[in-house]
Symmetry: D2
Subunit: 101 residues, 4 copies
């Protein structure tokens, strides 16, 4: 399945890119296919492995902050795989040209 | 921590209240404190127990549909508990009167 | 339509209930039907009027903070009204008993 | 500000890429900077112009469906611009290498 998530501390001031980078490091270390966007990261895999990655990110951020907010969207579709690139490709085909990615 | 989630199938037509009801049944059976709202359900507990409940809801809906969408928001605050009622009470105090709940 | 939203500053430290209360005040002043939950507020109305309320909340919070995060979910269903209570009632009927609200 | 959104009909069966493509077409026609991801699209601009684009997408999808769901995240930061690429660049700098995008 495909999961998109955003994570940040809410008690560490305006700039949080250091925290986001430490979460992305954990995503990379998981070995799961992922794609970083301007406001979220998408990961493909099974429920258990993806949620374990997000939980590691949560614990890492909580080491250095007292309040962490996470928004997660799950698209669980039967028999679907290779969708991090596939979903964008489907839209491009329907559009008839390449969108900005 | 406090977790709010929304879950529904996207391939089962316009009305999905039967699916939502089967998810709420699973939430109730968990024994965790929860509160049903018009567009989402909030649960209080530990990460592992809350995510296990959401995963049971996902599996239940996937038995009868091929595509399920879930949106989850997590508010993980150190040392906080009793917040399903507490957060609303805090806002009521700051407001100086009871909001509609 | 029914819209659920969450709004908070991310640069004002751990406790944000004062900011949330000022947003709820704006929602109340709009006169639109609403319901406050532990992690979000739901409002019923037309797109333009609801989004105008959320924009007023955003501007109010930005007066006192440099970074504001908002999560909005929209359920736009043809011909539907009275759904702040109606959606919960539908689920209760399917469940066969009253859920916690 | 930066806004990420996801939009789809919930009454049109499992595959919705045609609907997503018609929304992306509207985003492109707006002329605003955007970036398509696997599960959402990010747009940069002012509140009014971005929400007008999302509203046009909503109306377009509602022409061919009776129920549309939208999830929107807003990151409103004072004085920030060029962030569709800038936020990813900030994370890359902190990471010390280029993440997958």
């Amino acid at each position: 399945m495909l999961v998109q998530f955003t994570i940040f501390p809410t008690d560490q001031g305006e700039s949080v890119s250091g925290f986001v980078a430490s979460a992305i490091k954990i995503v990379e270390d998981s070995g799961l296919p992922y794609k970083l966007g301007p406001m979220s990261t998408s990961i493909e895999g099974e429920w258990g492995e993806i949620l374990a990655v997000i939980n590691r990110c949560r614990k890492e951020l909580r080491k250095r902050s007292k309040r962490v907010y996470i928004v997660i969207s799950v698209d669980d579709r039967e028999g679907a795989s290779g969708r991090i690139e596939g979903k964008i490709r489907d839209v491009a085909e329907k559009l008839g040209h390449e969108p900005k990615t």
